[in-house]
Structure formats: structure tokens, C-alpha cells
């Protein structure tokens, strides 16, 4: 049995993604997962834009996207780090859920590029 290709990762390989909290000074506002540094970042960026995220000016090797809810997704292409930022106005008890929603957008962009993420 062969693994299903994940288009934005550019290879037929099983990749396990885990969402976890970055330790930050504003509680539960920044979350993280790590992708292979060799991912097809332009393809992933295009897929995230197609999924409804708004591209912002890149910063060096970092792709940046804003979400309609004020969140942010950053792709650090040099290292594979992906950071999900929840808007500080989201109440603390709802921040994990907001981060999971951003993570879900990323996962759908990876496995179903060009197709909307279910609500």
C-alpha cells in the first residue's frame, strides 16, 4: 500500500502534524506545528489563499496570512515552522478552538488544495 501524496508537501510520504502551544507571554495566543522544510511552500501559500486567508507582505523567508477573524498564519520556509496566532481579543477560553480552526485550514490546504475547508 502506498501513501497518498500530499500535494503541498511535494512527496508521497506520511506526515504527522501536531498542533501545540508556543510558550508566549500572551496566554494561549500562539500555536505551532512543523512541516518538512522541503515542502512546496509556494503551492501551500497558494492553497491557503484559495482557502480564504489573506496574504500579507512576506518578511524575508516568512509567508504571512491574515484570517477573517483576525488570526494570522506564518510559514517559516527556512525551517518549516508554522505559527498560528489567535487574535488577542478572543477570550482565553476560546483561543485553543480558534487555533484549531487555523490549523484545520492548513491541513485542508495541504491535502485538498484549492478546495474550501468545511466550516
Amino acid at each position: 500500500m502506498t501513501a497518498t501524496p500530499t500535494p503541498a508537501l511535494g512527496e508521497a510520504e506520511r506526515v504527522s502534524l501536531t498542533l501545540y502551544r508556543e510558550v508566549t507571554c500572551i496566554r494561549a495566543l500562539a500555536w505551532r506545528c512543523d512541516l518538512p522544510a522541503a515542502s512546496d511552500w509556494p503551492a501551500l501559500a497558494a492553497a491557503l489563499e484559495a482557502a480564504g486567508l489573506v496574504p500579507r507582505a512576506p518578511l524575508g523567508s516568512v509567508f504571512r496570512f491574515g484570517s477573517p477573524t483576525g488570526g494570522e498564519v506564518l510559514l517559516v520556509t527556512a525551517t518549516g515552522r508554522v505559527q498560528f496566532r489567535v487574535h488577542y481579543a478572543v477570550p482565553q477560553h476560546a483561543r485553543k478552538l480558534a487555533a484549531e480552526r487555523l490549523f484545520q485550514l492548513l491541513v485542508y490546504a495541504l491535502i485538498r488544495p484549492g478546495r474550501p475547508c468545511p466550516p
Partner: protein, 417 residues
Amino acid sequence: MAIEDLRGLFAEQSLTFLAEIPYVYHCHHYNLFHDQTIDDALGEEEGTRVRTAAAHNAFRELLAAVFAKAGATTPAERISLASEVFAWMGQGRMSLSATAAGGSARSGSLHYGFAWREKYGSRVKRSEPADAVAAGFAAAATELAFDLPSDAIATVEHKCVAARDAECAFALTPSTGHAAKPAIDEATVRRYVVPPLRGLDEDRISQIAAGLLEFMRGVQGDERGLIAAFSVFVAAHLPGYYNETVYETIHRVERTMADSVPAIEALMREAGQVCVFSTFGNVLLSPEWEGLVGPPTGVPTDVMSFCTAIARGLGFGHWLISEYEPRKRLVLRCTSTYEVAFYRSRYGLATKPRSYFVQGAALAMMTLAESVKWTERPQLTNNFYVELFRGKPRYRVEQTKCMMRGDAISEYIVDAL
């Protein structure tokens, strides 16, 4: 005229200006600690008075310059522009309703109150308001909108988000005015710098600092007038505020409670430590830093260079590494800081080294370079801060030269104990 068009950069000294008035970036950890230090030294009531007065004076300088540059002449124009400037700085979005006889102001999102609630709100109950800076701003904006003299308006914050009110509220009332002191502007600052020197790793530090300065040029308050960046709340702030609060406080303590001077100076140094640990540390761990520079390597010489570059990038002045021997010795020098021009203009020559902020920062840079495992994604928690800085001291710092005292340069030596 767009607010960002009022920015200026004295590039060779890493000093930044808005309408020719100096400004720098600091994070909420530093800002809250700084204010607490003033209150610890003077007591809450007098501390609040000193902080409000300092903000009042500092914002009068800034807003007068902004109004002149922007050609804002009517009260409505000036109040609107003042509110936009305040929000652009990341200080919060304030609604100001005032006449020449006073009025009121309110906000649900002020840098100090909002950040205090985020940091401490679930653990600490606070009854006194936290927004002396916004109070001083509101008084200054009202005075200048109606061409009133300095201190013609007094402000009291009577509701505060930090004290669990739904929003912050301020009352503005008439007071006795007096002539304002001359502004500390770019021309004044330029009189108190010396030609920049090259330090160790200069080319790399200059390049990173330039990148960070450029990045910071794109940073501004959001729809609530706040800036969440590098995992902290950041605000553009006025050195006039920090300097007046620090030096008025220390001079007063020297006059009235001389025995307490060492303790207060230590607290002021610790504010510099807090800045480096929280702001510099979070910058180093941020995705933005990874994009600009790369992930932290953990090599002490790298950390030292990066911290120096961050100081320059935030507009703290031309810091340079004169000597560095890992785990043994650091000699940090500055050809400019955001403190010198204020002190020399307001008080003349200092009788002893007075740059408490950089003293603490230098000590913290040594600690961050030597004792933090950067490649293991350290957690910059309060517990870690306590572990690093409040246990057995590993280093001591001495400021051996001070431009405020009339020395040709400022120099800070950190030695291992």
C-alpha cells in the same frame, strides 16, 4: 499627512523620531515593570502623580510637534489627529470628548490596562488604575487642542480595565497652567551623541539592525490601537516618559531617603533586565526573527550580537560590543542612548553614572548569551526569569563611563563573579 510620514531616523545612531520627537519600542512586560518600579519607590499615589505628569509632558512635546507638522489647527482636527497618533503608537484607541473647560475620555483597549489584565488579571486583584500614560496623553491632547498652557488640564482615571471595569474612563478638569519646558527634539538629541564606533561583529549587527528597523517601520496599532508582535504587546513610546519618571524618582529618593537609593537603583537596573529577557528574548524566538536572521543558534557570540542588533532596531541607540569573552566578560559601549539628551538638557551633568536601563540590559545580555539553551525552545516564563536573575548572582555590572556625567562615551562592564 500620514502619521508614518512623520517618522525620522538618525540611522548611524539607531535613534528614531516622530515629528522630530524621539520614540522607541518597548513591550508590556517592561512598561508594567517600569511603572511598578516608580510606584515601589514613591508609593502608589505619588507614583501615579509622577507617571501622569511625565506622560503629560512627553505627549505635549510630541503632539505639539505633530500638530505643527501636520498643519492641524482646529480643536476637532487636533483631537482627532492626537487619537490617531496614540492608536498608531500601539498605546490604545481612546475616545476623547473635551472642551477648553475639560471633559472626559474612555477606552476599552489601552496598552497598559489591557496588558496588565492579560498578564496578571487571572491571579491578582487590582484596585488602582493602570493607565497614567493615557491620562497624561488625554490632558496634553486637550490642552493643545484648545491652545491652553501646560498643566491647564488635570486628569484622573476613575475606571480601569485592569481593575475589572468594562472600560477605562478619565475625567478632565481645569487646573493651573504654567509654561512648558523646551522640548527634547531631534536637534537636542544630536547635540548629545558622539560619532558612532564600530564594535565586534559590526557588519552583521548593522545589517540585522537595519532589517529590524525596516520591519518596525511597518508596525502600527490595529483597529483597537494595540500592537501584538513577537508574542508580546509592543508600543511605540516616548523616552521623555521613561526618563522623567526614572530621574524625577531617583532624584527625589536621593533628597529624601538616601538610604533607599541602592535599592531603587537596583530596581531600575532590573527594568533593563526585564526588557532584555522579555522583549529581546521573545524577538529571538519569533518566526519574524527566523525569517529575518534564522533560528537561534545558541552560540553565545551570536546571542550577544543579536541582542545588540535588537537594541538598535528598537531605537535604543548605537550600542556596540567592545569586548566579549564568553562566560567571563562583556564590555558594552554606547555612543548614543535615549537617556542622555534628556538628562543633560533637564539636569545638567550627572554626578555619577545614571544609565540604569542599559546597566541592567548589559547584565541580562550576558545572562541570555550564557545561560539560555536557545536551540531547545526555552520557555520565557516568570519562573525562568526568577531562576536566571534572582538566584545566586553570576555576573556583576559596573557602568564605568557615562555620557550623562560628561564622559566621551557610555561604557558598561559585566564580569563573572
